[in-house]
Symmetry: none
DNA sequence: GTGGTCTAGACCACC
DNA sequence: GTGGTCTAGACCACG
């Protein structure tokens, strides 16, 4: 099932990128699977309080990346293979882990302290 | 000693924000201390290959936040107390780790898996 | 009605300051009143032959001074009270006349001569 | 006699232009006449608390406009004819009067009101 | 179409 | 050489 209920828009990153990331995260987490129908641009735009063009931009980019199939006049459906999902998961997670490590190293944090911090803050966030 | 050798610019966030973050990280890590001279805008701009104005924007904002002092014709110097450093460290670590934990949760990653990944990728980064 | 047809840019003062002054003058003269829509940045920029950012800078400062309101996607509108207009008028006239009187004094011009000159050149300007 | 005692630097216009204007005003007012020696760049710079380069820039421009004669190692002297003084006076005064008229017109002020205001504010300014 | 932001280039005063 | 400012161009989200 594809939903946008859990997406909360935040300030610093562009909205269409947040939407793209939300869908990719759903693919990796398994909440969105091959064949699922995406909500229409209008539904998403009213739900998020965002301009339809912004949704269109996100959908279009996902289509160009090969994760979506759009028929004019019909709903868009997710088109993705198991291999694509696995590759996507590896890529996204590596990026995030790499990012967290880089940040912590920049602050002069050691690996042991990092493990403690990650464990400590895991439950807190939202 | 203040240096920008370890700063590598990335695509998604504005350059001046990356510079601000780099300096704040240096303050937190202790590589930049009270009284240090910052490299001039031109030095940094040629080193990073960006316009001097971008550095100027970063320095100006840091000055407004109370971390450094600029006088025309003289180099900018870091002006910061121990308390400011501590508060900054707490704030930055919570922000960064929190946002990345949120990302991993969105991918369906469990805490144990995250800790393993962190341990595995720690040495890779650089 | 708000217009920029009567604004001619001159060399010595920054363009954005000239725009600010022109709008303030319009407020004082009563040609721009509360609720009026300002022309868009692009309209003004093409009319004056300058970059839209220059207009943006002027509008933004006027907004910070409390004379107009901007919402993304909609035109900016003038928001100003009678009291603000009166205070602005007094301030601007005193500033401008004072500075010019000072110049004339520096040239050794006496008051009587100045009055004659003012009377003589009044019609010429435009 | 040439002096810079009456020159007070103000914020918005470039200093070297203020110096140029001050000397031109002296020429028009008759306080600086043909053959007068100008104070050295160093004297002026210490008196005004300004960098010698700034004075140099002003002197150089005045020299290029034909009002000054500089000999290397000697003091600069004013070189100006009666005709130049008269032309300069006419030009500068017309500019100022034109400027004041334009400003007042922009505020919707009528000629009669302008004469009253000029008369009223004449004594006030310093 | 609208306003908002980031980056860039040129120029300024100053040491 | 230093920091500071004005103008410009490109891009963004939004209506």
């Amino acid at each position: 099932m594809v939903t946008f209920d859990t997406l909360e828009l935040k300030g610093d990153t562009p909205i269409y990128l947040q939407i793209i990331h939300h869908i990719k995260a759903g693919l990796v987490a398994g909440t969105m699977v091959h064949g699922d129908e995406l909500p229409s641009r209008r539904q998403v735009s009213t739900l998020l309080g965002v301009n339809p063009n912004t949704i269109q931009k996100a959908y279009k980019q996902l289509e160009e990346e090969g994760f979506l199939l759009s028929h004019t006049g019909a709903k868009s459906t997710i088109q993705i293979t198991e291999e694509q999902v696995f590759a996507l998961k590896t890529l996204l997670i590596e990026e995030d882990i790499g990012s967290i490590i880089e940040h912590l190293k920049a602050f002069g944090v050691e690996k042991e302290e990092a493990l403690v911090l990650l464990d400590k803050f895991w439950e807190v966030g939202s």
